[in-house]
Point group: C2
Chain length 338, copies 2
DNA sequence: ATTAAAAGAGTAAACGTTTACGTAAAACGC
DNA sequence: GCGTTTTACGTAAACGTTTACTCTTTTAAT
């Protein structure tokens, strides 16, 4: 077995209390004994048992993170940020892949409860009442990332999706586009779906550009296939469209692929702007101009806020809107010089 | 505080031992008391404390996973598989992002040791002696994924990279290509670098095709930029190249982008085959033909093997070569019909 | 020199479980 | 109906820590 504090105490001829104090940097011993104990620790290769510590301290130095899709491109970058913040603060992170299933989510939440995690990060999903109840039962801080809840009072870290969509659309307008379409996400999705649609619409209206249902196609998801399938539909509705705002990068790239297949040149004949700035937004051809969500930063920030809440350094949780930027690549062309 | 087993015992008027037995499905009580206790559990909302359990059982039902790059596209799919297998077996997974740093790796290993994880999955990196020593100290099973160790006896789950590269090259040859180049990975990388280079070379030789240093460019990494920068170099070395084998999908797509910029048509003037089958291999244009590593499966398999080892169901760890396939998309053209 | 305060260290309880052991009652065998 | 086994529990130790409390011994203050 691994050596315990008792072994160290025996080896150094002191009590376990003294060893504990030295290990934890508490006062109450002479330099001499400190040295003796440290030598004992070294000699035995002692490692404190975090489980025993957790039992008595009621602190596990562990947080749980729930994603609807761990391997998704959004999730993985957020995860990196969270992991980073956690690690810096001496916490470990347990990942949970809820697969957007309520059952699985609850199961995971229960598991995290049994494991006595110190806090939870909940990403990219809407918070159901069922979940919220468990949060309360658990009595640990929770922070939302890339989502928010109108119903429940939980701190969040996200970008303002309305603003992002608004600005993306304005960007197209600024570049001289007048006939602009959008491939939108689910209309029942309060996080990414509704606000982006709204931002698009209001930007058009602000600039007195035509807007009707014809300008929008609703896809069932945010994936490549959705974009690929939606572009032809949208094109039929809005034949003289010169620019497209896609609800996500994957959708944008799907649309781009569809355009290639239809022989439509991007950006000469059709400009496309995406949303997310996933890693491969720069890898497609032409490089995708897109609204950049600072995913890693968001994860990091969420992690930091959670840690502060756990440590009790902050009582009231501050939510944070993270800044987005429009990163310009080659998928939008400027019509003004024509 | 959360209710404990004592509270349940008191509520149900039995001893904690009885509650424990019931909770754990051990024999030794009447149906009557079982009902009483279950009601008590229900009424109090009792959840067993996994920390206390871990302390006495010396089992945490937790595994640690180390990645050089959590948010990398390879890692995230492997992670999903691991997480899946772990969850199915009732284990949680702690993710660690080593950032390919020895220091960080050791730090994480120590952390996992303190947290008393039951096993470790180590991904995509070479196992240094320093790490191996800690593995031994920890006395927990370890399984490697997407890597292997010649030096140390550790079970692995991976594809045969030599074979994969060989077959990829043969695929190009079968399609009538004779002048084939490769953008290779690091020559000091025993996992992905050396075997893929070797596979390429031997395939050419087997089919009596010309081969010299000119057919290869070595890039410093496996990323998009590496591919983008390497293509022009390779093209200078091998001007009449008709097909390219890229050491990774990112490199392949980088090369594809470079080709676009140089006005070289893919696949008409240059065929490209990649390696990995990342999610966005199908999202670029033209769709990338590539060697598919079953990343999620690999993670899942590694997870399953680890769990078996932890449970002691298997004594000797079996390593596994996973099957790769070549997924055909549009980036390779068939020269035989010409 | 006397007393008070501080420093150095030990003892033991507590955290929430599991489980070996003990014991009384019930069930069984004949 | 008696001894024996089985069933149904309860008691208490153990897991590896932290920490409140106690007790000496040293240091400081007057």
């Amino acid at each position: 077995m691994n050596p315990t504090i008792k072994d160290v105490a025996k080896y150094a001829n002191v009590s376990i209390a003294t060893v504990s104090r030295i290990v934890n940097g508490l006062p109450g011993y002479s330099e001499d004994t400190k040295k003796k104990v440290q030598e004992a620790i070294e000699a035995l290769g002692y490692q404190p048992n975090a489980i025993a510590r957790g039992l008595i301290n009621k602190r596990t130095q562990t947080i749980g993170v729930l994603f609807p899709d761990v391997s998704g491109m959004l999730s993985s970058e957020v995860l990196e940020g969270v992991e980073n913040a956690a690690h810096d603060a001496g916490f470990s992170v347990i990942v949970c892949n809820t697969a957007s299933s309520g059952k699985r989510t609850v199961k995971y939440l229960r598991l995290l409860q049994e494991k006595r995690v110190d806090g939870i990060i909940f990403a990219s999903e809407v918070v159901k009442e069922e979940y919220y109840k468990i949060f309360q039962e658990m009595k640990v801080p929770v922070v939302l990332v890339s989502t928010a809840s109108s119903e429940f009072d939980l701190p969040f870290v996200r970008v303002n999706d309305f603003e992002g969509a608004f600005r993306a659309t304005e960007y197209l307008i600024t570049n001289g586009h007048k006939m602009i379409g959008m491939i939108g996400g689910k209309t029942n999705d309060p996080i990414a779906g509704i606000p982006r649609l709204k931002g698009f619409k209001e930007a058009l209206q602000k600039h007195s550009l035509p807007y009707s249902e014809k300008h929008i196609t609703i896809s069932e998801g945010y994936r490549f296939q959705n974009g690929k399938e939606s572009l032809p539909v949208l094109l039929k509705q809005l034949p003289n469209m010169t620019a497209l705002f896609a609800v996500s990068d994957e959708v944008a790239i799907g649309a781009m692929t569809a355009a290639h297949q239809l022989g439509i040149k991007v950006p000469e004949e059709l400009s496309i702007i995406g949303y997310d700035n996933l890693k491969f937004a720069e890898m497609c051809y032409p490089g995708l101009t897109t609204v950049s969500q600072p995913l890693k930063d968001m994860g990091q920030t969420a992690g930091e806020i959670l840690v502060k809440l756990i440590k009790g350094e902050e009582k009231e949780a501050e939510s944070r809107f993270m800044p987005f930027t429009i990163v310009e690549r080659q998928s939008v062309c400027d019509l003004r010089n024509k």
